[in-house]
């Protein structure tokens, strides 16, 4: 990988990614993280070559307050999915320090991998100052992982709407809480947080508090009118519990989704959110308001990716 070497042909790299090769996936992730203008065409070419990832794959986001047990849970799920024969790619996103620009990427240490098993891959990513709890490179990284592995698990820290951009890049959003902290309940009730697709209460080994947390959440979800939202209690300490039930709940949610439609809708919402972050309410008004923007997005070709859609919105705004 010396800097003097000629760049690897993108087609070969994409083939390596599709074959699930550890080294190729890592190189592809290095590429999509590359911020230099000179790398943009190669990144675009790679993403085109990878298509939208495995069409029958499943991307699941795990979000929740710090320290509730997200990484431990992702580790347990990774193990269970491997046992069921799926390959798994994990993207663990951690915040960067505002002051130094550096980051401590501490999720990997909690996620069990085996050197001899290339079917479970973990990559850590720093947010590098991006708003919304997601790194700039996260959407493209998810696409790389989704082209290589059957299941993609994305971990981000966050509570409440402003921090859950993860929903744009995954098919299923899991909100993870631990017993004894009423945060999630408050956020749900106050409407700060949208009802996620699946709710998980970790540390079920703590007993009664865990059961109470689960009952409270179930009541809140029912009160908000989303009867279907599963609430699963899990424990990751021996003997583990609830992991299989959670995998089942995830598979069930996925089976109920029109993946193509959901991903298309996510891309469009993501594009609008990105546009709004960059240009503010003034920009949105220039589009004729949110409704009009959504309508315009709805008319675009389904194959367009997020950057292309943002570009289109920008052109709309300057024309309109």
């Amino acid at each position: 990988m010396g800097s003097a070497d000629p760049p690897e042909p993108v087609e070969a790299l994409a083939a390596g990614v599709r074959a699930g090769s550890r080294a190729a996936v890592a190189r592809a992730l290095n590429l999509v993280e590359d911020r230099r203008a000179q790398s943009r065409p190669r990144i675009a070419e790679l993403l085109r070559a990878l298509g939208g990832g495995k069409p029958d794959g499943h991307r699941v986001g795990f979000t929740g307050p710090p320290g509730v047990g997200k990484s431990t849970l992702v580790s347990a799920l990774g193990g269970e999915l491997r046992r069921r024969g799926s390959t798994v790619g994990v993207l663990a996103v951690d915040p960067s320090s505002k002051r130094s620009g550096g980051a401590l990427l501490g999720d990997r240490v909690r996620i069990e991998t085996r050197p001899e098993d290339e079917g479970l891959f973990v990559r850590s990513l720093a947010t590098a100052g991006e708003l919304g709890g997601l790194a700039r490179a996260a959407p493209a990284s998810v696409l790389v992982l989704a082209a290589a592995f059957d299941r993609v698990l994305v971990e981000t820290v966050g509570v409440g709407q402003s921090e859950t951009d993860v929903e744009y890049v995954v098919d299923t959003v899991v909100f993870v809480v631990q017993p004894g902290s009423g945060d999630a309940l408050q956020f749900l009730k106050a409407g700060i947080m949208e009802v996620p697709d699946v709710l998980v209460v970790t540390k079920a080994d703590l007993g009664r508090v865990a059961q109470r947390a689960m009952a409270d959440l179930q009541a809140a979800v029912r009160a908000l009118g989303s009867r279907e939202t599963p609430v699963v209690a899990v424990s990751c300490v021996a003997p583990p519990q609830g992991i299989e039930a959670l995998v089942d709940a995830l598979e069930c949610h996925r089976a109920g989704l029109d993946l193509t439609a959901r991903r298309l809708a996510s891309r469009r919402r993501h594009a609008l959110a990105d546009f709004a972050t960059e240009h503010g309410e003034r920009g949105v008004r220039a589009l004729g308001g949110r409704r009009a923007a959504e309508r315009w997005l709805g008319e675009q070709a389904p194959g367009l990716d997020v950057p292309a859609l943002v570009q289109g919105l920008q052109e709309q705004a300057t024309e309109g």
Binding site: A23, S100, G102, F121, V237
Partner: protein, 661 residues
């Protein structure tokens, strides 16, 4: 009365030691006892501390390094050969596998017809500080605490002169704790353990239990403050016993402790100065009669350079003997009685410490605070502060950040011009242990082994006391690795929070130029500079690696912190998957010559090229050169205390690797 008619009996004098094999350690112990040492302090090697046999994959390079391997009853026999168990006072630095080593010791006593009731000594057995500092834990906290309380309940009933636990403030100080934190978090552990013991043993009267509890403390250079710390400790311990556990017998409430004076603060630069440091630190734990140590073990002057030789350890033992036998220290009552200064300082430490004890209780107790990372984060912060004070010179360390000019030291000139003033463990020792444990397994009654292991698994699963089950297994010839594997099956394994994520460090302007360099480098590379930091091998002393990780983040690097006990193959896998620009390894156990080349090979095999590898640890000069010849880009030793310049160095290495300098 001021002067005592008869001088007080001195404390028990020990030397923390053990290496290579049970036989070699036995002759070392006998030699030490002949020199006037009055107790034993057994250092076990890392595989023994973590429940692995010498032929386990993870034991490679670690057998007999930081202590003696004890794999079965035969090893325990050899270790204590010719040493009378009924009169010896034996301290074992053993934690996760404490019930097992205690069981081997009891089994040996019964075999010799001594009987458990006669045994005196200590099992360290404080698992909470393993999660916080020392790293040799195996099982999750709740499960570990159950084993701890089993041992205590068993000892109080059946081995009444044994100290089944040494609550360790020692390692908290090593991890950075201030005196206040040292007391507070240790007492937090006491509460967690004692509540568990009271519940598990259904004990109504805690007097007998309290009388068997002791502490293992650390003593640093600020010895006036240390005296006050110990007085505050004693005060709060008594209060805890009275108020929370209803103990009233003053004898049971007495604060009893053993000590090893601070070895982390010993310097590699001008190491002869450490002799003064050791003596002054010893004063802190001996001057005040009311809180005088019951047992003292001293590090050696050259601890920061490598493994001390028998002569180095003898020099430290002589320090104790000169103090106890030549001075008039033991002829007086407490010489601080009535000192306003000492009383005031003691009160202030005790007040602050109790406040923090209450804070830990509010947050759910010590175990919850280990799990949440609260305590670890506070320790990492304090340590970061201490290190930056040394770096900036506001905390003086003679020979390190001031008065650094020196004539060449004759103590360091070795006559052979080779390895220098340290001990090297014979690399053949490991192979011999591997053969020995295999031979042992061939000679035993397999039926008895299987039966006792099944009983152990089933019994522990049902929540029975682990001690009788372990003693039966010890007698049947079960090995340390088999015991460990059986319990891992039933109890599961654990990884403790690293504390580096949540710790915050103070603003430090001097890092700004490095930050700018790292930022610019990131722009040129296209993405931020990413480091992988981890500790291969079994050693769990992660304080150094944590500080490097923390400072690296502060310098603007993205740091994948992989923590302790990672295999070379895992490190290689992480380096590939994470796309890092540099790999940093920390090895303190002396097994760098085995582990580091293995990591280099694993990286090469995984196709990782152009990624510089740096190593930090207690690495003798000659070994450092050899590692560099093998392809290590840089070796850092305790001499490189300025983390800021290490950060600059790391950036330079990455630049050079990418042809950008």
């Amino acid at each position: 009365m001021i002067e005592r008619a008869v001088p007080e009996r001195p404390w028990i004098m020990r030397t923390y030691s053990g290496h290579s094999s049970a036989q070699a350690s036995n002759s070392l112990y006998r030699a030490n006892l002949a020199k006037g040492q009055t107790g034993l302090s057994i250092a076990f090697d890392l595989p023994t501390q973590l429940g692995y046999d010498p032929d386990h994959r993870l034991a490679r390079g670690e057998v007999g390094k930081v202590g003696v391997p004890v794999s079965h009853l035969g090893d325990m026999r050899a270790l204590m050969d010719g040493i009378p168990l009924e009169t010896m006072n034996t301290s074992m630095t053993i934690n996760a596998t404490a019930p097992w080593l205690f069981a081997l010791y009891i089994a040996l006593a019964e075999e010799r017809g001594v009987g458990a009731r006669a045994l005196q000594g200590t099992t360290q057995n404080d698992i909470v500080k393993e999660y916080l500092s020392r790293g040799t834990y195996i099982f999750p906290p709740a499960q570990s605490l159950k084993l701890t309380s089993d041992t205590i309940v068993y000892a109080v009933r059946n081995v009444p002169s044994w100290n089944p636990i040494n609550f360790c403030s020692y390692h908290l100080q090593e991890a950075g704790a201030t005196p206040v934190q040292e007391i507070a978090y240790t007492l937090g552990t006491c509460i967690a353990v004692l509540d568990a013991v009271r519940a598990a043993g259904k004990i109504e009267d805690m007097t007998a239990t309290f009388g068997r509890l002791s502490f293992f403390v650390n003593a640093g250079m600020r010895f006036v403050e240390e005296v006050c710390k110990l007085r505050a400790f004693a005060l709060l311990w008594e209060r805890l016993g009275r108020d929370r556990y209803g103990v009233t017998d003053p004898k049971a409430l007495r604060f009893r402790y053993g000590v090893q004076v601070n070895s982390l603060g010993l310097t590699a630069a001008q190491p002869e100065n450490n002799v003064y440091r050791i003596l002054l630190e010893t004063l802190g734990v001996t001057l005040s009669k009311d809180v005088r140590a019951r047992a003292v073990q001293l590090p050696a002057w050259n601890e920061a350079l490598g493994l001390p030789r028998p002569w180095d350890q003898q020099w430290s033992l002589r320090c104790q003997q000169v103090l106890a036998y030549e001075t008039d220290l033991l002829e007086y009552d407490d010489i601080f009685e009535g000192s306003r200064v000492v009383a005031e300082k003691t009160r202030s430490i005790a007040g602050a410490a109790w406040g923090e004890v209450e804070q830990v209780e509010r947050l759910g107790g010590a175990v919850a605070c280990v799990q949440s990372g609260y305590i670890k984060e506070r320790l990492v912060e304090s340590n970061a502060l201490r290190i930056s004070q040394i770096e900036q010179g506001t905390r003086k360390v003679v020979g390190v950040n001031c008065y650094t000019e020196t004539a060449p030291s004759p103590l360091l000139a070795s006559p052979d011009g080779g390895a220098g003033a340290i001990l090297t463990v014979d690399p053949a020792a490991e192979a011999a242990q591997v053969d020995a444990v295999r031979a042992w397994r061939k000679k035993r009654d397999e039926g008895a082994v299987r039966r006792t292991l099944d009983a152990l698994r089933a019994g522990v699963g049902r929540g029975e006391n682990v001690m009788p089950l372990s003693i039966a297994a010890a007698k049947a010839g079960v090995t340390t690795g088999e015991w460990g594997a059986a319990l891992r099956d039933v109890l599961g394994e654990f990884r403790a929070p690293t504390g580096v994520g949540g710790a915050t460090i103070g603003r430090d302007e001097s890092i700004e130029p490095v930050r700018a360099k790292v930022r610019a480098l990131g722009e040129r590379l296209g993405r931020n500079v990413k480091l992988l930091i981890g500790k291969p091998g079994l050693d769990g002393h992660s304080n150094g690696a944590e500080q490097i990780a923390l400072r690296a983040r502060d310098a603007g690097f993205e740091v994948v912190y992989q923590g302790i006990r990672v295999t070379p193959a895992q490190l290689a896998q992480s380096a590939v998957e994470e796309g890092v620009h540099l790999v940093g390894l920390s090895v303190l156990s002396g097994s760098h010559n085995d582990l580091v080349p293995e990591v280099l090979d694993a990286l090469r095999k995984a196709g990782v090229t152009n990624v510089p590898v740096v190593v930090g640890g207690i690495i003798p000069e000659a070994d450092a050169r050899a590692l560099e010849a093998r392809g290590v880009a840089r070796v850092y030793t305790p001499k490189d205390f300025a983390l800021g310049s290490i950060m600059d160095d790391l950036a330079e290495l990455v630049m050079r690797a990418h042809g950008l300098s």
